[in-house]
Amino acid sequence: MSSAVAGIKDRTLLAAIGDEDSITGLLLAGIGHVDKGRKNFLIVDTKTQTSVIESAFEEFTERKDVAILLINQHIAEKIRPMVDRYTQPFPALLEIPSKEHPYDPEKDSILKRVQKLVGE
């Protein structure tokens, strides 16, 4: 845990995996970052394969400069097993709603953990 906290000083970026509209909006806010051809966002549409999403998820979670990873909830559904297995404190994983899929607290893996603990 101490190494994760030590590395947190270098984590400054937000990464995002989402549909076109969500990504456009987030980029407008200014989180987009391209260095040496590496982008910190992935646009997912109906044609994108699950394996592509999974590898992007892994890549973003392994990068040392990403502090927060934003992901649309309906995309998180596609890689739900991987998301549920994710327990690192950094980068922080956040499920966000999209235009077509409003926020559903039932599906959020972090909230599920919360409820499990509160229920104890």
């Binding site: 400054t12 937000l14 502090a67 922080a92 994983l93 956040l94 603990l117």
Partner: protein, 265 residues
């Protein structure tokens, strides 16, 4: 009697008893301190839990508002997504790590800050300029909410871990360390008592023997005195011939009379 259950393997002396009692005291203090820490952390944990729940719902609403403003922009200026994607070079919206100390636990948090100029190169979108600006602001606000939420989430996860560790330690002290020390103390006490009893018994035995010895000597001395008294009665009848012997026999033989009593000053 002697401590049932696991105890430490030490040699039972009074010194060991004192040190073990000291250790028991320390363990009890440590236990109460840890229990307090755990309770404080749990309180904080529940507070954060509530905040996380609220923040998630707020996020839902804020993102909805931002999405609407994007829809407006698209309506006014057409599809700007391609331009936006292409112009993303260096992130202007970044987060900084900050540490917070909660009852001994350093919790990390995120703080949003803007780096670099606000110039996006998009304001040259013509008709959409103002709408784009509005959309940018609403999304910026949304992302700030998201950053707060992420801070809360990490704090929550780390706190969860720490609470579990503290809980484990409290239970370990309560159910393992303190019973062991108590058993050790009982054992030492019982061994010391046993040694005392043995000592007492030994003393009694020696006293008894001494008493018997003095009694025997007294009996022997008495018998001897009687024998000499008889001898002294006989000798006046023996006459002059025995006079010489009487003189010698009458008095005590210094060398044979045994040990003199000690002269005690």
């Amino acid at each position: 009697m002697s401590g049932t259950g696991p105890r430490e393997n030490i040699f039972p002396t009074r010194m060991a008893l004192t040190t073990t009692k000291g250790r028991l005291k320390a363990a009890q203090t440590g236990h109460s301190l840890l229990a307090k820490k755990r309770d404080a952390l749990m309180l904080r944990f529940r507070a954060i839990l509530k905040k996380v729940d609220e923040a998630k719902r707020k996020m839902g609403r804020v993102m909805q508002v931002a999405a609407f403003s994007l829809a407006e922009v698209t309506y006014v200026a057409g599809d700007i997504s391609y331009q936006v994607q292409e112009s993303a070079k260096s992130a202007q919206f970044r987060v900084r790590a900050k540490q917070e100390n909660v009852s001994g636990v350093t919790l990390p948090g995120f703080e949003a800050y803007k780096e670099g100029s606000n110039e996006f190169g998009l304001t040259g979108l013509g008709r959409g300029g103002q709408q784009v600006q509005k959309c940018k602001e609403s999304y910026a606000k949304a992302v700030e909410t998201l950053v707060e939420l992420a801070s809360l989430q990490t704090a929550f996860m780390i706190l969860d871990d720490v609470i579990q560790i503290t809980n484990r330690r409290v239970n370990a002290i309560e159910h393992v360390v303190i019973p062991r020390l108590e058993n050790t103390i009982k054992y030492i006490n019982s061994e010391l008592d046993e040694m005392d009893r043995e000592e007492f018994f030994r003393l009694k035995k020696i006293q008894g023997k001494k008493k018997r010895d003095t009694e025997e000597r007294a009996v022997a001395a008495k018998a001897k005195a009687e024998a000499e008294a008889e001898a002294a009665e006989d000798t006046p009848r023996a006459g002059e011939g025995g006079g010489y012997e009487v003189g010698q026999g009458g008095g005590d033989d210094l060398l044979a009379s045994g040990k003199d009593k000690d002269v005690i000053f």
